[in-house]
């Protein structure tokens, strides 16, 4: 009798799993299940709350907001990259005054919140209208868009200068000496020997900086530039529908993840020769 009862259970039982249900496994599975439930809940909520009228009204706004976000980040990261070169150069300069200026610049922009910098540029410079007009700069600072670009460029230039400096300093002295021994000029050395190696080192930090700027740009609506986040807040303040925020979250996550994987892919391609 007991044999009969035991036999089917051994037959039906699938092959034993490689590991038993340890405490970690139970806990981990529970956590993954929790995420899955949260994800499905989100999906169910969005399907349930789907409202074609709302979509028709706000989808174009989201799209234009997304365009504003991408343009803002694209322009300021590029301009910041240019500006970061002289700053990094000053930071590394042996001249005490120059390096102090470079240090002060980097310290100020990395030590204060971007949102405060944006306020300072937009509303702060706004109170110097007459002075700015006298030197012909008011035309530029009159526009919120220019103020946003200006503040973001100054901010990202400080971070990028540090990335550049770190990357250049990561290249060993031997590389400089070797190039000098081959009779390369300083400019040639920088262009052909140092920069290619430094850029590989800097690639990941640069990628992170772009991601940080995309996330940081979400504050720009406070100075009347309506980016993706601004359009989201506007939609929420009109509809009081929470899905407005969830859509924004999905869009931001998609951009950031795409960017992150692209950078990793580029890095893998560029460092192929370093792998054995």
């Amino acid at each position: 009798m007991s044999e009969m009862a035991a036999a089917p259970s051994t037959v039906e039982k699938p092959p034993a799993p490689p590991r038993g249900w340890t405490r970690e496994r139970i806990f981990g599975t529970a956590l993954v299940a929790l995420w899955a439930v949260a994800g499905l809940g989100l999906l169910a909520f969005l399907v349930n709350a789907w409202n074609p009228e709302l979509f028709q009204k706000y989808a174009p706004a989201y799209l234009s907001g997304l365009g504003v976000t991408l343009a803002l980040v694209g322009i300021s990261v590029t301009a910041g990259a240019v500006l970061s070169i002289p700053i990094a150069w000053m930071r590394m300069s042996k001249n005490k005054v120059l390096s102090a200026i470079g240090y002060g610049y980097v310290y100020f922009f990395r030590g204060t919140p971007l949102i405060a910098q944006a306020f300072l540029v937009y509303y702060g410079l706004g109170s110097f209208r007459d002075q700015l007009e006298a030197i012909g700069l008011w035309g530029f600072f009159r526009e919120a868009w220019n103020c946003a670009i200006f503040a973001f460029t100054l901010n990202t230039a400080a971070y990028q200068a540090e990335i550049l400096r770190g990357a250049i300093q990561s290249i060993g002295r031997g590389q400089w000496e070797g190039a000098a021994a081959l009779g390369l000029s300083k400019f040639q050395t920088v262009r052909k020997i140092i920069l290619p190696q430094a850029l590989i080192v800097a690639l990941r930090p640069y990628g992170n900086e772009i991601i940080l700027m995309i996330k940081g740009s979400a504050i720009v609506a406070i100075i009347t530039v309506y980016d993706l986040m601004g359009e989201t807040r506007r939609a929420y303040s009109r509809t009081f529908d929470f899905q407005t925020y969830l859509w924004a979250a999905l869009i931001y996550l998609a951009i950031v993840e795409t960017l992150r994987h692209t950078i990793e892919w580029i890095e893998r391609r560029l460092t192929k020769h370093l792998k054995r």
Binding site: Y123, G126, S127, A144, T224, Y226, R233, R234, Y236, S237
Partner: protein, 252 residues
């Protein structure tokens, strides 16, 4: 200034305040307002809330014999905050609109408002020919929605508060500001607003301002309505009105 008290507040704020409120115990009523909308509700240098809305709310609370406590909340989150129970009533010059009626209940109007443009005195801005002008509004107000629908070609700039819209009118970043008559009137008659004047007649009128309450609070709404009637009749309303405006803002 009681910094220590603020510190203690911050510390106590660290605990999630879960209040299991019974419907009958309403000795204190929390009133939500914006605090950036002079002369209706704004903050002074020593952190005090002042203004027409504030005084009306105080008068109503006294009439209803309840203790009132003010909570400031940014405009774009003021209705969600009401629904979440952060306060029980919004007394913040909120217009009664169909969209808001879907979310909240309103009392009878406690004043009537219209939308009007202001612009610098030397500007020949004309409300009937807005074209592609740069118009400043406060985001989430009826002025913002009205301007969006009425002036599709205009370059609309939406600000978090009314004060910032005016500040940019003064610097010349916007050509004109569209907002409630009451606030605009007060501003152009202040030192800050000396630059500017009304342009044309109000572009929309008969906009009723009420106190917003949560949907299920019908009893509270009735009490507010009774109180509004009472302060209208006993002269308290007229007294407050006189302090802020030389004209009758209640409209009828």
């Amino acid at each position: 200034m009681p910094i220590m008290k603020r510190l203690a507040l911050a510390a106590s704020a660290a605990a999630i305040a879960a209040s299991f409120s019974a419907a009958n115990a309403q000795e204190t009523l929390k009133i939500g307002t914006e605090g950036a909308y002079p002369p209706f509700n704004n903050l002074t240098a020593d952190g005090k809330l002042v203004g027409f809305d504030v005084e009306i709310a105080e008068a109503l609370c006294e009439e209803m014999k309840v203790e009132c406590e003010f909570v400031t909340q940014d405009w774009d989150g003021i209705i969600p905050a009401l629904q979440a129970g952060k306060f029980d009533a919004i007394v913040a010059s909120m217009s009664i609109t169909p969209e808001r009626m879907e979310q909240v209940n309103f009392t009878d109007p406690y004043y009537v408002n219209s939308l009007v443009f202001i612009a610098p005195k030397d500007s020949d801005m004309d409300p009937s020919a807005v074209g592609n002008m740069v118009i400043g509004v406060q985001e989430g107000t009826i002025a913002a929605i009205f301007a969006e629908e009425t002036y599709p070609d205009a370059d609309l700039k939406a600000y978090p508060t009314q004060l910032e819209a005016w500040s940019d009118l003064d610097t010349g970043r916007v050509d004109a500001v569209l907002a409630d008559f009451g606030v605009q009137y007060d501003w152009i008659n202040s030192d800050d607003g000396a630059c500017c004047e009304f342009k044309g007649d109000p572009v929309s009128s008969d906009d009723r301002i009420g106190i917003a309450l949560r949907k299920d609070e019908t009893e509270l709404r009735d009490r507010f309505n009774t109180a509004i009637k009472a302060i209208r009749e006993n002269g308290t309303y007229a007294e407050i009105n006189k302090k802020y405006f030389p004209f009758d803002i209640y409209g009828e």
